[in-house]
Assembly symmetry: C2
Homo-oligomer: 256 residues x 2
């Protein structure tokens, strides 16, 4: 990776971009994944590249939902694995829940590559951790290879999932989900926590809790928040979407 000086004001964003370029070369990403990442970059730019107060509330609500879930799962795709794979493992280890690779353009090559990537991130994170945390990290199951479950309401390869993961889950954390699938999951009565930088996307509008934030920042903070044992509230998701839009509007004028 090219060295980006620590002093660079947009260092985190540029490092994420490099990660995406390299992952693309390694075949981890769908063809239009880089375009999706670019869209996210633009929205994050308008957000000031930091977690807003309303996103912090959404992260706390998400942590509370995950803590009371009977069967939580973290659904990862190519972009979220590349950008926040380690954070997903960490969250799963705290919750004692599985991580499931579930992608829109499903090919066995990409499924294998992403499962392998998460397994190696898990092994690295485990080896760097203190003894107590190490075992719970190494115990995180990476699902997805066996597609013995179905998401009712979707057709074709997009309906495939793991019976041990998404199919039986009551609360699903899905960073960077596609709109159709988010709707299908909530229609099945599951609670969906989405992380999406576009507050106007169908995913953002249909999720139970939407965290309008960069996926790495949000998941890193979510891992911390889980340790604070937050409680669920009477959640108004539309209010956080509205707040994100307000920030984008006013910050774009401010930057100018």
């Amino acid at each position: 990776m090219t060295d980006i000086p620590d002093s660079h004001p947009r260092k985190a964003s540029l490092m994420s971009r490099q990660k995406m370029v390299e992952a693309s070369k390694r075949g981890l990403l769908a063809e239009s994944a880089m375009i999706a990442h670019g869209r996210g970059e633009a929205f994050d730019y308008l957000l000031g590249e930091k977690t807003s107060d309303s996103a912090s509330l959404a992260i706390r609500e998400a942590a509370a939902l995950l803590l009371v879930a009977e069967s939580p799962v973290i659904s990862m795709n190519g972009n979220s694995t590349v950008l926040a794979g380690s954070e997903a493992i960490k969250i799963a280890s705290i919750l004692g829940c599985p991580v499931e690779v579930n992608i829109y353009y499903r090919t066995s090559d990409r499924m294998e590559a992403l499962i392998g990537e998460l397994e190696s991130l898990r092994d690295r994170l485990g080896s760097e951790s203190l003894h107590k945390a190490r075992q719970s990290i190494m115990d995180v199951e990476i699902l997805g290879a066996v597609a013995d479950g179905r998401i009712l309401g979707l057709q074709g390869p997009r309906s495939l999932c793991s019976s041990q993961g998404i199919e039986q889950a009551d609360v699903i954390l899905v960073p960077l989900e596609d709109g159709d699938r988010c709707k299908a999951l909530t229609s099945l009565g599951k609670q969906v926590i989405a992380i999406d930088l576009n507050p106007l996307s169908r995913t953002s509008k249909s999720a139970t809790v939407t965290i309008v934030d960069d996926v790495k920042r949000a998941m890193s903070r979510l891992a911390d928040e889980l340790l604070e044992n937050p409680k669920t509230t009477d959640w108004n998701n539309e209010a956080v979407l509205r707040d994100a839009l307000d920030i984008m509007s006013s910050s774009s004028l401010r930057i100018a």
Copy 2:
């Protein structure tokens, strides 16, 4: 290409995305080109995916500047060639000026591929045109292969250009330019017309005239505008940037 129905409200945007994905496979694009395109998509989304009144004024001003230029040139990179190569040829044929391929990450493979792409777009456009237009289209020179000029103020491969094109030009149309090069060109006393969907970019802020619009829409309209013989005005570039920001702010709230 996948068929996108004519009725799809975002058809133009989705077709551009497909063009980018295919051009990437063909090696026409830099590694991070898709990410840049995605950023553009997000800004265009906030613009409502249409040419604003202030962008129309900028297009008219650009046409007027190009018409009075002594030595105009159109500088094309990977993304602009893929998205609006034909439109560039058409504009050049009206002005009787050259098109120069000039890219940030210069490799001989990509230079050759982009020059070949523009030549084949020129040949196709010429063969589809009526006799009178055909000759002026076939006469459009595609520069870039011979890097016998320099952009003073830049270092390394990024300073290379054609002595017959950018080096001697007084007015340069540069869709999707990088900020450093835009500044270097204006520092040399050249007038720079930029097309950039991000009104906050360094390019947008440093160009003589900034067209905040999608590159294909803007260049297609610019070709029409040239035939109207517009006159230059006392141009306030900051006002169009401010207007674009206002539209993005209010439209994002409206869509919600």
